[in-house]
């Protein structure tokens, strides 16, 4: 009985994993093909033999990168530039604000924290048009500004995450530091930050992913092709559907997915911890 159970668990796990990873494998498979060809049983996109896949993939990636529609290097540069500016802003500002909500004992702190959580409910379309007009008045449309400046003003989700983490640091440490003559800045600098490095990493990573994947922001705020981010570049490539063969489209997708996948594999533990923290009550 117990054995059957264990076997069943493994069978289910394998099945679930297969379903979860299938689309990624599928993407790679098509990206390693040569496009559409006739085969027994109708049209297919699959490569003829497994052996030719790596060679095809390399060739296709090269075709995509040098194609002229997808200026991969420039889009990557733009994306990284925005990401660096936005991620550093989020980490710095969210750590500060989270400290305020976690440790500064002002009466209004709790209601303001609730207000902050409520702002997560404002749908983007509501503020989309006004934000556009505001950034236009500031002359920032067509620059990267709208994509990273707001990050320096704290991001509700990051603040929330970091506050949860700060709350888990024992208060006795603060008290000890206070006896040693530390003020808020001293506690923040010498107690919180060193202990919260993993949380800073998580917040940074999540925000990096957000910037990398963000499509609507660049769609609205950027107009010149020189400034496109990868997400927009991929959409530009996709919009040629009809003339863009699937295997090249999947190669372009691979280019966009590859870096996040590697990043995730290297940091999966932080990721999973960060996400679990957000759901536990504090």
């Amino acid at each position: 009985m117990e054995r059957i159970r264990t076997t069943l668990v493994y069978v289910l796990l394998t099945l679930v994993t297969a379903v979860a990873l299938f689309p990624i494998g599928y993407m790679l498979l098509i990206a390693g093909g040569e496009g559409e060809r006739f085969a027994e049983g109708g049209q297919t996109l699959f490569p003829q033999t497994a052996g030719e896949m790596p060679g095809n993939l390399a060739g296709n990636l090269d075709t995509v990168m040098t194609d002229g529609t997808l200026d991969f290097r420039r889009y990557l540069r733009n994306t990284l530039l925005v990401a660096i500016l936005a991620v550093s802003g989020t980490v710095v500002s969210s750590a500060m604000v989270a400290y305020a909500f976690a440790r500064v004992r002002w009466v209004g702190s709790k209601p303001l924290f609730m207000l902050m959580l409520a702002t997560m409910m404002v749908p983007f379309p509501v503020i989309m048009v006004p934000l556009f007009t505001m950034f236009r008045e500031l002359g920032l449309i067509g620059t990267f500004g709208p994509l990273w400046i707001p990050a320096w003003f704290g991001n509700a989700f990051s603040i929330f995450l970091m506050r949860q983490f700060f709350m888990s640091i024992p208060r006795e440490l603060d008290d000890a530091a206070r006896i040693d003559g530390c003020g808020h800045f001293g506690i923040f600098r010498h107690i919180m930050l060193p202990l919260a490095t993993p949380a800073l990493l998580v917040v940074g990573l999540l925000h990096f992913m957000f910037v990398w994947n963000d499509f609507v922001g660049p769609l609205i705020f950027l107009s010149h092709r020189d400034q496109f981010t990868l997400a927009l570049g991929l959409q530009l490539f996709m919009s040629r559907l009809g003339t863009t063969p699937w295997h090249l489209l999947m190669s372009a997708t691979t280019l966009m997915v590859g870096p996040v996948l590697v990043l995730f594999l290297l940091t999966q533990r932080s990721f999973v911890e960060g996400i679990s923290t957000s759901g536990t009550k504090g």
């Binding site: 529609t69 290097r73 540069r77 990284l80 236009r136 067509g142 092709r225 530009l236 940091t267």
Partner: protein, 449 residues
């Protein structure tokens, strides 16, 4: 255990650092694709929708312009979602110097005062086919054509011959056409369609255009009134609906299931699964690209019409026009105008048209243009361009909404959910409300001036 953990975390961190450094190095150290612009030139950004060979054809004109003088340098850029991006860029007062739009965008931009006058080119309305005049001229000329097309019926001459039809005398009326369609259609014993004589929804780009072939019109531009539920429109879409009725909705769905989202929208016609199709003149170019040496023996004819509206001298057909405009607030209007003027020289327009495989936007194309054109049926397209019965999408600023409503109605017709009369009654209501609202908004703005 702890030590091991620490070690893996250190190697991970190192790997992460190396990965980040590699990505940053790749992104920031290498060069990006950018044309080398000669020093001393003022750069003019030109946004266009074309990619592939269509972009290449415009690039040759751009290159010729850049070589013809030493003051300006036009930088051609393919942009996706062009009309929306242009709207945003113009609103942000950072527009491109030259902007290639679809003719359907003109009413909105014109009404918003977003386009500069091109009257200094000294063109008159008579220089252009009558169907183009309202597109290019408002109170002034504010748009010039880049390329124009007319849409016609394409068929395989060999297949016609095989089934006993004269390839030199294609059907001109709908009853004749129905006969051809039924004869060319092949269905297996289960009723599944293996070859369709014609399918109104393939390639799906001109689903709106069947009305005029039956004497119907969906918009009255003079009275600014919707006419979607007019008798001609309803008759036209009853004919469209007759396809799922004759072959069975499920059979058609299975046939079309294989059609949707194919890499090439032309493949059904090229592979012979579709015997005849509504297509633009550029199809000949794509035929060369996709079929290579096994080129089919194709021909084009004006789309067949209801006998009541037949007019041998003025064939029916929809047209579309790509236009070039200069947005307001450009930095160098004289540079933009210099390029517009260069492009409008007949030889440059024709070079572009033949590069795209399209007819000339001018009333009188040159003999060599017609003779050397890549599409052997170009004269058919040319005759539709200048015909009194040529028509375009309703030329109104509400067309984006209008076509959304129309599309919703037509998709009900396609799946036999509603008769054309029922579906179009609803569309008519929606569209009339859109037109009324747009008129009120125009009046509001005018009252402010």
């Amino acid at each position: 255990m702890n030590l091991l953990n620490q070690q893996t975390s250190i190697t991970r961190r190192a790997a992460l650092g190396a990965f980040g450094a590699a990505a940053a190095g790749y992104a920031f150290l290498g060069g990006t694709q950018r044309n080398d612009i000669p020093s001393g030139r003022v750069v003019l950004d030109y946004w266009e929708k074309w990619t592939g060979h269509e972009a290449a054809a415009m690039q040759t004109v751009v290159d010729a312009f850049n070589a013809s003088q030493d003051r300006w340098w036009v930088n051609y850029l393919s942009v996706s979602g062009l009309d929306r991006k242009a709207k945003i860029a113009i609103a942000a007062e950072d527009p491109p110097d030259l902007l290639g739009l679809w003719h359907r965008n003109i009413p909105f931009f014109r009404r918003s005062g977003a386009l500069l006058s091109l009257d200094s080119l000294g063109r008159s309305r008579d220089d252009y086919a009558s169907v183009l005049r309202p597109i290019l001229f408002g109170e002034m000329q504010d748009a010039v054509p880049t390329t124009c097309s007319s849409i016609a019926l394409y068929y395989d001459r060999a297949m016609f011959r095989k089934f006993g039809f004269d390839p030199d005398r294609p059907p001109t009326t709908v009853p004749e056409f129905d006969e051809v369609i039924n004869a060319l259609t092949i269905r297996d014993k289960d009723g599944k369609v293996e070859r369709a004589g014609f399918l109104p929804g393939d390639p799906g780009w001109w689903n709106w255009s069947y009305g005029p072939f039956f004497g119907g019109q969906m918009y009255d531009p003079v009275a600014d009134k919707a006419m979607v539920d007019s008798p001609g429109m309803i008759r036209a879409y009853e004919w469209v609906q007759s396809f799922p009725q004759r072959w069975g909705l499920e059979n058609l769905r299975r046939f079309q299931g294989a059609l949707v989202d194919n890499p090439s929208p032309y493949r059904n016609f090229f592979s012979g699964r579709l015997a005849t199709t509504l297509q633009g003149p550029w199809v000949a170019k794509f035929m060369q690209e996709e079929m290579g040496s096994s080129l089919m023996d194709y021909a084009a004819a004006p789309f067949p019409v209801d006998p009541s509206v037949q007019d041998a001298n003025n064939p029916h057909g929809s047209i579309e026009c790509d236009v070039l405009v200069v947005p307001r607030n450009v930095r160098h209007p004289e540079g933009s105008l210099a390029f517009v003027s260069f492009l409008q020289q007949p030889e440059n327009l024709e070079r572009l048209a033949s590069g795209h495989g399209k007819p000339s936007p001018l009333v009188k194309p040159s003999a060599s243009f017609l003779a050397e054109h890549p599409n052997r049926s170009i004269e058919v397209h040319q005759s539709i361009m200048v015909s009194q019965n040529a028509f375009a999408e309703p030329f109104t600023e509400v067309w984006p909404e209008f076509s959304n409503s129309l599309g919703a109605g037509m998709s009900q017709i396609d799946v036999l959910q509603a008769t054309p009369a029922e579906a179009f009654a609803q569309v008519q209501q929606e569209v009339q409300a859109q037109l009324t609202r747009a008129a009120a908004r125009r009046a509001l703005r005018e009252s402010r001036l």
